[in-house]
Symmetry: C2
Subunit: 402 residues, 2 copies
Amino acid sequence: MLIVKKFGGSSVANKERIFNVARRCIEEYKEGNDVVVVLSAMGDTTDELIAKAKDINPKAKQREMDMLLTTGEQVSVALMAMAMQSLDVPAVSLNAFQVMMHSTSRYGNARFKRVDTERIMHELDSRKIVIVTGFQGVNKYDDITTLGRGGSDTTAVALAAALHADRCEIFTDVDGVFTADPRVVKNAKKIDVITYDEMLELASLGAKVLHNRSVEMAKKYNVELVVRSSLNRSEGTVVKEASNMEKLLVTGVAADKNTARISVIGVEDKPGIAFQIFDTLAKNNINVDIILQSVGRDGTKDISFTVASDDMEEAIRILEENKTRLTIQKVTWNEDVAKLSVVGAGMMSNPGVAARMFEGLYNCRVNIQMISTSEIRITVLVAKDDIEKAMNAVHDAFAMGD
Amino acid sequence: MLIVKKFGGSSVANKERIFNVARRCIEEYKEGNDVVVVLSAMGDTTDELIAKAKDINPKAKQREMDMLLTTGEQVSVALMAMAMQSLDVPAVSLNAFQVMMHSTSRYGNARFKRVDTERIMHELDSRKIVIVTGFQGVNKYDDITTLGRGGSDTTAVALAAALHADRCEIFTDVDGVFTADPRVVKNAKKIDVITYDEMLELASLGAKVLHNRSVEMAKKYNVELVVRSSLNRSEGTVVKEASNMEKLLVTGVAADKNTARISVIGVEDKPGIAFQIFDTLAKNNINVDIILQSVGRDGTKDISFTVASDDMEEAIRILEENKTRLTIQKVTWNEDVAKLSVVGAGMMSNPGVAARMFEGLYNCRVNIQMISTSEIRITVLVAKDDIEKAMNAVHDAFAMGD
């Protein structure tokens, strides 16, 4: 078997943890498997490097940030190879240049285009454990790129797809994917199997177990993922295609406090205005989430939408700047909101889900400010103070803890 | 003009020093020059990385050490590019993969084979300051190599040669090359011009201003070097070919405490024995320096030689192991010795130099244990305790401070 194993920064934060990871990988190697290990930077290394850069130049170009940050993973892989070698197992570390992880040009947020397998296969053929830097690629200018935070998951999936790996394991500090955040919902349960689509919805809703793009890529290339703990031997959660699975009505519930609501009041009710508003925001790299449009007074419209908290000020500034062109009378906003979502592949064919969710919220007197749905997800906007109560109520309403 | 400027680790040890270097480079850039900057790792970074590696695996393979250590220079060049950009000057950082600094395969002690210039020329043509990682290369396996400590000097010279630079400046924390170590000899003077050969002798004798191999390469490709301070604007020392220079009798005096004497007593007086002894040591990577052979008793010989202090124990072990084959009766050693050398291209045609040196030592009652000479150098072995007194005496004997 060819197995790709990815370990995050906290799993390699110090000597003891590095050796813990080394031993787990060696176990599988000694069973006769080919083992490829993808690592992130140790512990807080990335944050420390960012702080150094900000001290020198708060507006450092992303190209140079990528050049700086990618040293973190290179340190991890070199030390891991040394640890394995000290345990008498042949190992070799490789960076993105050595593997040739071809990426798009965009610094700080690149995507993989193609991954060469020749060097890795050569090293595996000579029975080495191959340790690859996560999070980084090389673009057509021969420059180092990064995939954005959490990109090491994507590196693992890209390698698993290119190498036709039998398994891709993402190790983390939790036991797997849960029906809700166990710190908030006490009777949250670990999910044994989840579909790519459900995982995508949960990931994009702030369940930070897997990097969103890694799930997209796993789905595209049909790479079966296992999310499991680097601290114990529990089975973890399998992420795979729905085909053979019993479709659960609701798989999990996720909350996201990193959100803010913005309303533009009194815009002209003529075709194209909504497009112009969201186009203006998009061109400034502001992602808009839930959108709600209502009829205002005197033939005008009010449009509300949510953005990530960090983007709120910038979004308001842009809207104010373009107030006249966009026919906006007034911009209002609210930071004290949070999103609550239920996700489940089964809800496609089951109309009662929304009603049951709303009933749960009503029973604990949580007011719903906005609603957005996809085929397998229902999201509501509630007051930030209500989010934990709401999460528990919805989790109970679907009996997810039973 | 195309100028290559190399700054060592202490010159980029913190934010202030990084900006100091950035400003000096920008000055020359703004005068219309093309500027290529070579940097070492910041401050103690390399030592810290080595300590991390030793903690994980005291016998870490050099391949992985190189993978680890080269991150240090990559951090330096990225931060320097950010600093220059914050001063509104276009700059770009490049590592050994991006430049393509082709080296020999040997990890930890590689040599440059060829340096590609395409990428650097492209960046210079678009009027950027190009900042290159020192100390590192890429071998034929696409692996990262290092040139051994101080190798950034060699990177600078290799780039200057490949780019046909008009000047190669090596910045350091002293004002240039001195007639003797100013910390020991109070009236030591800065040397304005020195030949490659003199510099080579001084460098190999422990005047740690320039990496030995960088001087060899500068000589080979006729790259004029300037050694100068990164802390002030003094002129520095020019290292170049002898042709147009007045040949000084003695250019400088250097001391080296990192030495130990080993004697093999009573070896058979037959052809090939000395060869076998030194061949055995060479095969174990022990460099032998001064050699002195004397007739022993009963038709045997005694052979004394010096090695670096660090190699002494290993050399003794090897000799003891091969005692019978090498017909050695006894091995003795002395660590309390030091080498003192005078160097000068002028001594080739001037026979009185050795006599004047010995007279100076005699006058201050320093005993000479061994003597070795080259065309432009005389080295003596003295007691370690005598070395500072001896250094001053010889410096005065040649009136180098006047």
